[in-house]
């Protein structure tokens, strides 16, 4: 019986039919998706922290309004994704608990600090650029609620990348000091952004299964190469440089060759030893704990109002 179900399941996926919450699915598919979607949701939420750092110090009202809107979008994206994960049978509180206990991960990129205003530009261009590269194929994920959330997210995300590029472009046309600031931000954000696509294909054991289930459409290395190719061209418009002496167009491959990635650093940050891991988690836990009274008060108020209404009705 189980075998029949799993055959029907895989044949639906092969035919590009979506799997919906009440459909039968293998337990491993469910668990993999819960991990993937909740990790993605946590990344959106934690991702608000490095950018939130600059809202009060944005250089103009225009920039401040844009950054506020962007951070608000990240909150929205987190919420779409938490809802999608909940359709798989995990509760919102369980997901928060996994984030706060360190059991669930979020994208390591957010464990780096935002040291100057130019970092907001670099995050938009590079970090959101890499995220979009990852996310566009997820709009075709085999799991319906995730795919629908991703469609919405991708639509909203493209302004994020453009505003970031615009910040860097403005700085690159400014004074020498502004130009240096932009270059410095790119120098610090480039390699962590390249690492956002995850380990190399031969060290990513779940890739084959995830591709078969169509919850992953391209491998980490394929997406990484695509990202590097695009950025290597875009950086020319800025008149700045990517911090990789080995970056070179390879006419034979029709791709850019690039230098060695520091995987030691990647794993260190994943394991909690990045510059801001502790600070980020503590900010999330603090927000959760200090918001407890609000959650309780809202429930109490709703309860009281319901009682009043039923009194009126009687």
């Amino acid at each position: 019986m189980e075998k029949d179900f799993s055959e029907i399941f895989q044949s639906k996926i092969d035919e590009e039919l979506k799997i919906e919450p009440k459909d039968w699915m293998p337990e491993k598919y469910r668990q993999t998706l819960i991990r993937q979607i909740s990790q993605h949701a946590h990344s959106e939420i934690v991702g608000m922290l490095p950018e939130g750092n600059w809202i009060s110090r944005a250089p103009s009202l225009r920039r401040k309004a844009i950054l506020l809107a962007k951070v608000q979008d990240e909150a929205g994206h987190g919420l779409y994704l938490y809802s999608a994960a909940e359709t798989l049978g995990i509760t919102r509180d369980e997901m928060y608990e996994q984030l706060h206990s360190g059991k669930a991960k979020y994208s390591s990129i957010f464990n780096y600090p935002t040291l100057s205003w130019a970092d907001i530009g670099a995050i938009g261009w590079l970090v959101d650029g890499a995220a979009i590269m990852n996310q566009v194929p997820l709009c075709r994920s085999s799991y319906g609620p995730y795919a629908r959330a991703m469609v919405r997210i991708c639509k909203e995300e493209s302004f994020h990348q453009r505003q970031g590029f615009e910040i860097l472009l403005t700085l690159s046309k400014g004074t020498e000091a502004q130009k240096r600031m932009a270059q410095d931000a790119i120098n610090r954000w480039w390699w962590p952004s390249v690492m956002m696509f995850g380990p190399k294909d031969d060290e990513s054991p779940n890739t084959i299964q995830s591709m078969q289930w169509k919850i992953k459409r391209f491998t980490n290395d394929e997406l990484r190469q695509k990202f590097i190719d695009v950025c290597a061209e875009q950086v020319k418009v800025l008149g700045l440089a990517l911090p990789d002496p080995d970056l070179k167009w390879n006419e034979e491959r029709k791709h850019y060759d690039f230098g060695k990635i520091n995987w030691e650093e990647f794993w260190q940050v994943v394991q909690g030893n990045g510059p801001c891991n502790k600070q980020r988690l503590e900010a999330r836990k603090k927000a959760w704990e200090e918001g407890a009274w609000v959650r309780e008060a809202a429930v109490a108020y709703a309860e009281k109002r319901k009682q009043k209404e039923s009194l009126h009705a009687a």
């Binding site: 919420l79 919102r92 108020y301």
Partner: protein
């Protein structure tokens, strides 16, 4: 902790006057009013709606996907319910 988890609501949005409400997603809120306000912030940040419906998810009843075959079977062999079923000569206009 978990006993204060706000209930889940399904959100339906009318994108424009004259169209029907369409499922947009879900969210948590303590009551209906908060659900509508949260829905505005979560699902209509770019003028995606002119009207919002919310309903607590526990009140939604859904058909069972494993019974889809039997459920829709009665309509399966009635092609004559579609206009294309009928062969009419080309001379017949406006029909």
């Amino acid at each position: 902790m978990s006993n204060t988890e706000w209930p889940l609501w399904e959100v339906f949005i009318r994108s424009k006057q004259g169209l029907d409400h369409k499922h947009a997603g879900s969210l948590h809120a303590a009551d209906a009013q908060m659900a509508i306000e949260n829905a505005r912030d979560v699902y209509t940040r770019r003028m995606e709606g002119v009207s919002i419906w919310v309903v607590e998810s526990k009140y939604i009843h859904a058909s069972n996907p494993t019974e889809a075959g039997e459920l829709y079977d009665p309509a399966n062999d009635k092609a004559y319910r579609h206009p294309t079923f009928y062969n009419l000569p080309d001379e017949v206009k406006h029909m």
